[in-house]
């Protein structure tokens, strides 16, 4: 067990190391003159960053620099679209799209001679006047990394680096100088709301769990069962900064009087699970988890529970049922978990991103946090940008940023000059935001009022080529598949709703089907047991609200305006443009194209699989959809 004095010593020893890793960072007493931070998040790992890190170490050793330069495998930097990425300090040179072959040159030029290899840099950081920091680029400049502050900065497998950034100071502060009431007041005053989707005020949640008889067994849980398609905010925090979650949970344990925490993490996040296990072992070794933390008499430990892949286990009561060893199904509320949660005991559950905000709120104060964001949604929010957007990745922006800013500026716009059509927030529980709400500040209440929801932070951008009925169908297919099957409206209702949507995209629906669809949506929304069912119709209702014309076109005209719904589209060859090159015929997997060389070709619509290969192959733009 370390004491608070020892914690300070470790901090002082390590703060120079982490402080070096910023623009104009001071080396101080740090051992290494250069730090190479290679992203070891899931995105970059899958594009080969580990091999690059190995190669860097090898080359650095060969150049005899191992005492001068260190290679650090960090969490996610956010700009996943350009992975693998790495940053070299003190120059703050941001290399992107790294390949193994670039490594020797970067070592020999940059690390040995001190010349940044600008051709391999993220080109936005290269200007006529030299290189600029990544924080000056469109992607990073509007961001404010609070929850992600250590992601991409520290080595997540090294507790000393976390302590160097001020880690576990908040826990020490709480345990030695703050009463339980002080902490709850601080969190309440900060205005922090649950980042998992519901947006429930965190301070209030904690307060509910504070009461009861002394000595009652209570629990603190972390929801790391991030399941929305396209969302990976929580994964990045766990992979990049696992200790922040432990620290925050211990603080909550102190507040409500719990001595045990559980992190329910998806087994599909193997890197996160590994790093959590490593971090857990280190935290126990230092005694920042375990018995008598800092000698204050407060004890708190954490165990991991791996989810088996069911989306519904992200719902709080289902998550607890699963931790208890039962089939992951939701339970009716009330009783709420703060009264009767895990194993029937008072429990608080917050998601990873919520936890990641806590220590800093304690250290910097409620006012600091409340100073960011909008009136009812304080602080920042992490979004996972995906879909038709150039900068696919992870961003943390102040609440109240507009969708336009996110898409056009931070996200770098839409590929191929296509037009923005809508963005889906909140995954399968959320709804779409159309062009008319492009400039609405993003916060909890605004999103709900326009028929979407914050959700955990997935943000999927769609362009003019996307069919909104098809998008609604995509999300509904997901919920049908992920419905646990416990309650009637969700189990059968979502399936029926999907059948109606299929009917629409197949061109077999009548106008009355649209009324039935809305009625069914309302039935599911109003009568389902848990949030999964209650929100499952949102993608349908919101696309119907903002793109009613598209639905009507499918039903009345039997046309898909975006040309996406296969059964409503046929491919044709414009005889005047076709030069008879035969490329389309050669590539057609269905042998649906006929024609003599140099003569206009024809598509047999009966044989056509509507795969669209011909269209992509044609060099004369002679093929069109109708």
């Amino acid at each position: 067990m370390i004491t608070i004095e020892q914690l300070q010593e470790i901090k002082e020893k390590n703060q120079d190391i982490v402080n070096f890793r910023k623009e104009h960072g001071e080396r101080g007493n740090g051992k290494y003159r250069s730090h190479v931070l290679v992203c070891a998040g899931t995105g970059c790992t899958s594009s080969g960053s580990q091999k690059i890190a190995d190669k860097l170490e090898e080359e650095i050793k060969a150049a005899g620099l191992e005492e001068e330069v260190c290679v650090i495998r960090t969490g996610c930097h956010g700009l996943c679209a350009l992975g693998p990425v790495m940053i070299i300090y003190p120059e703050a040179a941001f290399y992107s799209n790294m390949e193994l072959e670039h490594v020797p040159e970067i070592v020999s030029e940059h690390l040995v001679k001190g010349n940044v290899v600008t051709k391999y840099l993220y080109q936005e950081t290269v200007t006529e006047d030299g290189i600029i920091s990544m924080n000056q680029t469109n992607f990073y400049k509007p961001q404010n990394r609070v929850a992600l502050r250590n992601c991409g900065v520290i080595n997540p497998e090294c507790i000393n680096e976390y302590i160097g950034t001020g880690g576990y100071q908040a826990l020490a502060k709480v345990l030695t100088t703050m009463s339980r009431e002080d902490v709850v007041k601080c969190i309440t005053d900060s205005g922090l709301r649950g980042r998992g989707g519901g947006g429930f005020p965190t301070g209030k949640k904690w307060q509910f769990a504070m009461g009861g008889e002394p000595g009652v067994q209570k629990y603190v849980c972390c929801n790391a069962d991030e399941g929305d398609p396209g969302a990976f905010m929580d994964r990045s925090v766990l992979e990049g900064d696992p200790h922040v979650v432990f620290e925050a949970m211990a603080i909550a344990g102190y507040v409500i009087g719990a001595n045990q925490g559980y992190i329910y993490v998806r087994a599909e996040y193997p890197i996160a699970v590994d790093r959590l296990n490593i971090a857990l072992a280190q935290a126990r070794e230092y005694g920042v988890l375990g018995d008598n933390i800092f000698g204050t008499g407060f004890s708190f430990d954490i165990d991991l529970r791996l989810g088996a892949g069911a989306f519904v286990c992200g719902e709080e009561t289902a998550l607890m049922t699963s931790i208890e060893g039962n089939r992951g199904e939701p339970r009716p509320r009330p009783p709420f978990p703060a009264v009767k949660g895990l194993f029937g005991q008072p429990t608080i559950l917050n998601n990873v991103e919520t936890w990641a905000n806590i220590p800093q709120i304690i250290l910097k104060g409620a006012d600091w946090f409340a100073g960011m964001g909008t009136e009812k949604s304080r602080g920042t929010k992490v979004f996972a940008l995906g879909g038709k957007i150039n900068n696919v990745g992870l961003v943390e922006i102040p609440m109240g940023t507009t969708l336009r800013e996110v898409v056009e500026n931070i996200g770098g716009g839409i590929p191929n000059g296509k037009k923005f059509k809508a963005a889906q927030t909140g995954g399968p529980s959320g709804g779409c935001i159309s062009l008319e709400n492009y400039d609405v500040p993003i916060d909890y209440d605004n999103l709900v009022s326009i028929g979407s929801m914050m959700g955990s932070g997935g943000l999927i951008v769609m362009d003019e080529d996307d069919c909104m009925v098809d998008i609604a169908k995509f999300f509904l297919e997901f919920t049908v598949d992920e419905s646990c099957g416990k309650c009637t409206p969700c189990r059968i209702g979502t399936k029926r709703l999907l059948e109606l949507l299929n009917k629409i995209t197949d061109g077999k629906a009548e106008m009355e089907d649209l009324d039935r669809m809305v009625e069914l949506c309302n039935l599911i929304k109003e009568n389902s047991l848990c949030a999964l069912g209650q929100t499952a119709p949102n993608p349908v209702l919101s696309t119907y609200k903002y793109f009613k014309d598209e639905y009507i076109a499918h039903v009345k005209d039997k046309k898909c305006p975006a040309g996406k719904c296969k059964n409503l589209v046929s491919y044709h060859i414009d005889a005047e443009k076709c030069i008879g090159c035969g490329l389309c015929k050669k590539n057609c997997p269905g042998d649906a194209i006929t024609g003599e060389k140099k003569q206009p070709h024809e598509i047999d619509t009966a044989k056509c699989l509507k795969c669209g290969v011909c269209m992509t192959k044609c060099k004369k733009d002679a093929i069109y959809k109708a």
Partner: protein
Amino acid sequence: MIKVTIDGITVEVEQGSTILEAAKVAGVEIPTLCYLKDVTPEASCRMCMVEIEGMPKLVTACSFPAADGNVVHTRTERVVKARRGVLELLMSNHKTDCFSCPQNGMCKLQDLCFEYGVKDVPFEGVEKAIDDSNKFFTYDPNLCILCHRCVNTCQKRTCRGSIDTTQRGFKSVISPAFGMDWADSNCESCGNCVQACPTGALTMKKQKTYRHWDVEKVLTTCPHCATGCQYYVYVKDNRVVDVEAADGPSNRGLLCVKGRSASFDFAQCDERITTPLIKDRETGEFREAGWDEALDLVASKFTELKKTYGGQALAGFACSRSTNEDIYMLQKMTRVAFESNNTDNCARV
């Protein structure tokens, strides 16, 4: 105590009572399918939706705790629409060949569809495989509404835990672990799940031999052991065709496999011995005898044995199928008439 008004009737109930419990006190019936008394509310069927003044959402009466001053409406247009919607969804995946269903006339789903006017089924269901492997009952998922009364009964009342939902969402079915056949599982075939089923999804094979309206229900005690479980025997044409557990003090609505499936067939078995039989020493054949003759013979033989070898040479051992009263009489006879304490019974099943 708190005061709750349900459909205009104000009642006093204990703090912590659910809306459903309060409604019962008020004499207002709220339909349920998944609700099982004394078991944690499942709240999955969504039939018991009610409206509470001042609350934006409908709530499930079975799970929602009543609060002092609650004004509850159980029959508003909104509530009825929700219940009908739920029934329509259930029926959209439910076979409607009620004529050939053993549960016809006893089916709660049928009753509710009648009450709420649910007639046509606007969607087509998906045919799922029937599990007929158990010797005593059959599970037909095509009639299952996944109310989990069977699962809750097996897990929380009989505490056997043989079945649960397998698969997920629309594909869900009730089955033993890993989708194995019922017969291969640790199921003891007690059939309490069958009795809990509100539809024809779980039916006793015996149900094929009668229709519910043909039978007379007679409350009696199970003769199989000395536990004294109460049950109704179903009598058709003066023959027992089935049993149904009653809420007796020792069984509380449950039965074991023997009680439910092996306790009455012998009553009408052709080979049943209905008069005493005495073996003719000469021929070695049994002959029918009257009670007096038989009892005299037995009494004389016991008396002879006692005289020759003493009471300690005798013992009285009662069959577990005897009633408590019979077992008592036997030990009394052993102690008083035989003058022996060698007495016991095998009623420990």
